[in-house]
Symmetry: C2
Subunit: 334 residues, 2 copies
């Protein structure tokens, strides 16, 4: 899946700032990837970018209209359709992380069929894949893993990419989820592939390479989340990571959406992830711990990071509060 850039960021008519999370991620991590924003109403949330209509964006070189918002049901609202169809007719590619497929809109399906546009439903994956084979391949790899879903695995991977690149290390983010794919313009939504092909899909996302130094693979789910652990294990096996970075949110009361499931301890989580990773890379090591410490004060967070660093013998940081240079530095020795 490869999405042409630059983007025009479509914000529809959403009014909740949180709903524009994907678009905000794009502006944060790929500042050169877009020409501006398209809002359908004056009340629509703004990212503070230049407001453009389709023609203005096209004139500025935009190639893809990216739906930069999320909503509960993942359904594309009626009020967006005309704009999407209009954009497709003008030759924009359309990219969406919604549950509804773009191709379910008959006009868009027809415009794609006749190659007037290309549709990227990044939450879905239909192309053929090979079964994973676990054979060692060239290149060094980092995988972010987590104690649960939504604990900062994508953020940590992107922050690490930025920190390593700022040191002159050629490290490349590899997306495995819809937001990551829209941010980077390529990747495979790993939880959307047929179960037989989980590890094979990761092998395809990060194949053998010798033209750069690191692939940083975005993790998904958690070995301890009973809804999604199969995806996480396939990711571990497919990634063949040399280095794992464990992500965790402090004071989360239980596994997301499952009040009857408790979080694993950090030590158990490290051990389970390393043990699984070593099936395909016996040299896999823990490179650091990335925390979301927003539940405690900055001073408490500093003390906690120092304490855990001592305990687990790897750099421990909150990338939002303290940056992630310490983990990037530790990776220099690999």
């Amino acid at each position: 899946m490869s999405i042409a850039q630059p983007y025009l960021l479509f914000l529809g008519d959403v009014t909740l700032p949180l709903a524009a999370k994907t678009a905000r991620g794009i502006t944060l991590w790929r500042p050169d990837s877009y020409v501006g924003q398209l809002r359908l109403t004056d009340e629509t949330v703004s990212l503070g970018l230049q407001d453009l209509d389709l023609q203005q964006a096209l004139d500025l070189g935009a190639k893809t209209l990216v739906i930069g918002t999320a909503n509960a049901g993942g359904v594309i609202p009626e009020t967006w359709r005309n704009t999407l169809i209009e954009a497709a007719k003008m030759g924009f590619e359309i990219a969406s992380g919604m549950h509804t497929r773009l191709g379910d809109i008959p006009e868009l399906a027809e415009l794609a069929e006749t190659e007037v546009t290309r549709l990227h439903d990044v939450r879905h994956y239909d192309a053929p894949l090979a079964v994973g084979n676990g054979k060692p391949r060239q290149g060094k790899r980092i995988l972010t893993v987590g104690t649960d879903c939504s604990v900062g695995k994508m953020f940590t991977a992107l922050a690490l990419e930025k920190a390593m690149q700022s040191k002159g290390v050629d490290a490349r983010f590899k997306a495995t989820g819809q937001t990551g794919i829209l941010i980077d313009g390529s990747g495979i939504s790993i939880d959307a592939v047929v179960a037989d092909f989980i590890s094979g899909a990761v092998e395809a996302i990060s194949p053998s390479f010798d033209d750069h130094e690191w692939d940083i693979i975005e993790g998904q789910g958690s070995l301890f989340n009973p809804s999604y652990a199969g995806v996480s294990l396939g990711l571990l096996h497919g990634a063949q990571a040399d280095a794992l970075v464990l992500c965790h949110e402090l004071n989360r009361p239980h596994i997301q959406h499952l009040p009857h499931c408790s979080l694993p301890s950090i030590s158990d989580s490290i051990e389970a992830n390393l043990s699984a990773a070593r099936l395909t890379n016996p040299n896999a090591k823990l490179a650091g711990i990335s925390l979301n410490t927003s539940a405690i004060s900055e001073k408490e967070a500093q003390a906690l990071c120092a304490n855990w660093q001592e305990k687990h013998q790897v750099p421990v940081t909150d990338p939002v509060r303290f940056g992630i240079q310490s983990i990037a530095d530790a990776l220099s020795s690999y």
Copy 2:
């Protein structure tokens, strides 16, 4: 997925006995589920059943034509098409574990569309599923797990069902793979669901129950097979098994199809499976070890089973050579 019985077992024109594995499994485990066999040529392999044409089978009450053979590419040969279409026109349901979908044959698609027939592509799964939630549910469950693929997980589950039923225990096989589904007439091909729904699919296959004693869930793959371990972990979490039965083939040189991957030790395999199973059922225990000992003599096998039984403190048997009553007996205490 629920396939109407009795079956007419379709053997096409395959001449290798091994190719009729699925049909043979049906005759072995579900002797009341079929009326006879349909062979296209005199050279076609026979199961020793009554040879029937479509009309004769219909007269005997057959409801579904089951493709009881496998071939390398999983493609439905041209030479079978007329018979399949004819059967569908006569009102047979058609069931297939082939890779090619029955619905890819336009005549069959149309006959299904107009409800003249129903098509069961058991290697595929398209119906909606819910994400697994890991909530405890009623009923006792056994899951067969393995050190690798094709080590007897389906065979062990079916043998255990038979042994338990022969003791008057109401135990029911739950299929998770194409052959098992054709044998039992229902189930979900767990490696064919979208990765997000692996554990959810198992929760759907074996929901809460209080009308019988045990569900015996067919396992898939192995936590130690880097191609498919994600499926195996989702199965472990979805099954919430009270009892695991570990299946293993003696003297297998390496993980199937992957010469660079070695088999796990029995102890490591027990530990990894119990540890994973306990995420959703803290009381999960090992109930026995089921071996394929065909690589050694019967006398050696007896000694080995006794030795391992001592070592692992559970019944160890080769169900083909020695039956599986010992494991069925051990389950009485649950």
